[in-house]
Symmetry: C2
Subunit: 351 residues, 2 copies
């Protein structure tokens, strides 16, 4: 708990002076003011986060948190829990979608076992930080104890701090956890204050019958646990997940370390809701990536005040949207650094 408290205490708002300087430069570049839209917004935000009006191109690291979910016993996913561990090995071997897209984005991929059900073999690319062998079935009681939730949050903080110490100038979030759209849906329904049916989606591909079942499982989990929306650790422990907690920790540590964090899709969005409930200012360190096919994702982003730039009907998670968004963010940073100003280029300004 001490590490969490200390991290939250270090979070301060971005540097408004650096943002104003960045804005002045953006307005002086050879284009109509504001015409690069979100690219300009990203450049300004990163200037504020780093305190550098012309931020350098950052080293990129994507952190992929893996964990299992006891609620899969209820038949809420098309895949068995064993796939979480199998996919971890696939990440390590470089064959998963996120392996490909992290390489494509030039990002280091750090894979963390924070709560996979089975024991995983040692591997040089895998960080073994298991807090538990998966969560308990949240349809029957709390998914985690409060202590486990804090421990998983602090795993995320610790890993993010290590990545930043190793040179990362921007972090991306990703996850693997069969069943994890179920707790994420519970979290968004709770913060939105709406019916589960309004936000629940098909995850990796449920049919209509299975979707109904998933809705009733989430309703049961909320009724059994009665998480307190005013207490994010209570929400996290009762209807969250180990990888969701760890990702929330990554986001808090990014804000504390003054590093932008690219939020992937639906599961990362649930983690972002928790992180923002713990420390609202950390939202200013977040950059949304894509809009997921999961219906609850749009609501999450609205709650967070974030706008996704990629509309690609993706619903895989792993960090795939964050990796793609990093390519756009690099473009934004190059724009503010490499474009000529009106006076440098001898171009007339608007009349």
């Amino acid at each position: 708990m001490e590490k969490l408290r200390e991290t939250v205490a270090r979070i301060v708002p971005p540097d408004v002076r650096a943002m104003a300087w960045a804005q002045r430069r953006l307005d002086d570049l050879t284009k109509p003011p504001g015409s690069l839209g979100v690219l300009e917004k990203m450049a300004r935000q990163i200037a504020g986060i780093t305190g550098q009006p012309r931020p350098a191109l950052p080293e990129k690291t994507c952190i992929l948190m893996a964990g299992d979910h006891g609620v899969t016993e209820e038949g809420v996913s098309s895949y068995p829990s064993e796939v979480t561990a199998q996919m971890v090995l696939n990440f390590l071997a470089g064959g998963a979608a996120m392996s490909v897209l992290a390489r494509h984005a030039g990002a280091r991929l750090v894979v963390v076992d924070v709560g996979v059900k089975s024991d995983l073999p040692q591997h040089p690319l895998l960080l073994g930080r298991k807090v538990a062998h998966g969560t308990a079935n949240m349809a029957l009681g709390p998914a985690m104890t409060r202590e486990q939730a804090v421990a998983a949050l602090e795993v995320g903080i610790g890993v993010a701090e290590e990545c930043i110490r190793d040179g990362a100038g921007i972090l991306g979030t990703g996850e693997m956890g069969i069943g994890n759209t179920t707790p994420s849906t519970a979290i968004v329904a709770l913060y939105r204050g709406c019916n589960v049916a309004e936000v629940c989606g098909r995850g990796t591909g449920l049919n209509s019958e299975q979707l109904k079942r998933k809705i009733s499982v989430i309703e049961k989990a909320l009724a059994v646990n009665r998480p307190d929306p005013g207490d994010p650790l209570d929400v996290l422990a009762k209807v969250g997940g180990l990888e969701i907690a760890a990702l929330a920790g990554v986001m808090l540590a990014a804000a504390a370390g003054r590093v932008p964090v690219v939020v992937d899709g639906f599961i990362s969005g649930a983690a972002a809701l928790i992180a923002a409930a713990i420390a609202p200012v950390c939202r200013e360190y977040m950059i949304a990536s894509h809009l997921s096919e999961e219906p609850g994702h749009k609501m999450m982003l609205e709650l967070l005040g974030l706008e996704p730039c990629l509309h690609m009907n993706m619903r895989l998670g792993e960090g795939t949207g964050a990796a793609l968004a990093m390519l756009l963010i690099d473009g934004a940073i190059k724009i503010i650094n490499e474009m000529a100003t009106f006076s440098e280029a001898g171009v007339a300004r608007s009349e």
Copy 2:
């Protein structure tokens, strides 16, 4: 006219067998079927276009067509016509937004003078293919003769053919032409069959008074010229532009050459409407990039049956959206080539 006719005659639909093979592989990769959304769609489309179920990573070329517009006399832009030529020099010097983003995307940038008002100095990176010193004022009569429109289309065809011959495996479109949202708005209003006021936007930054003026200028141009929506060359000549014609030629040549073409924003969209009216099949070779701030852009994309993947509130043109989208397309091609299959990775399939 012969070159145009011959190019259109060579356009055939994409290879459905290669698309089916690509689909089979996509479904065999370690992810829930369809979960990578538009990335999968892009990979399948490029398989169909190239006839290769696992297409190679293509060399990328962005073609930037520059031309001026007589209609700027009517006060439809915040910038003077001279800026077109000044910006061409900025592209050649590497300081424009598109210079930066083409480099970022690893794309060659080919700049073509197809109709800049002033005479430009010779430069190794500039293709001088001037058809006219800008168009005539379309508010008073046709912007071009039919012969000029065809000549500009054939400039585009020729340049695209050269790029493909030089190794380009994917083309992007871009343009520079002060005043060119005005003809583009006329084209979309005509094809949509709606009032100009419904589609007209602020271009590079008009105020409400200037926007009203722009609307009435476009209404006048349509009333004076009465372009025939059933005759795309008539539309192009009367209310189009030299760079719009040339970009339509690029798109036709891409389809004829079996090369995907990434369509930038609003002006490129107007060119795409013309190209699709000349040869409807060429739409299957197009990949939309971003959704522009110009209100008419969404309508254009609907008419073309294309969906933009980038929502970044951009409104600069030049090809900036196309360059960013090329980074996503490269990701799609890497996905189909580099991801492991379920059997290779030893991952269980869905139940």
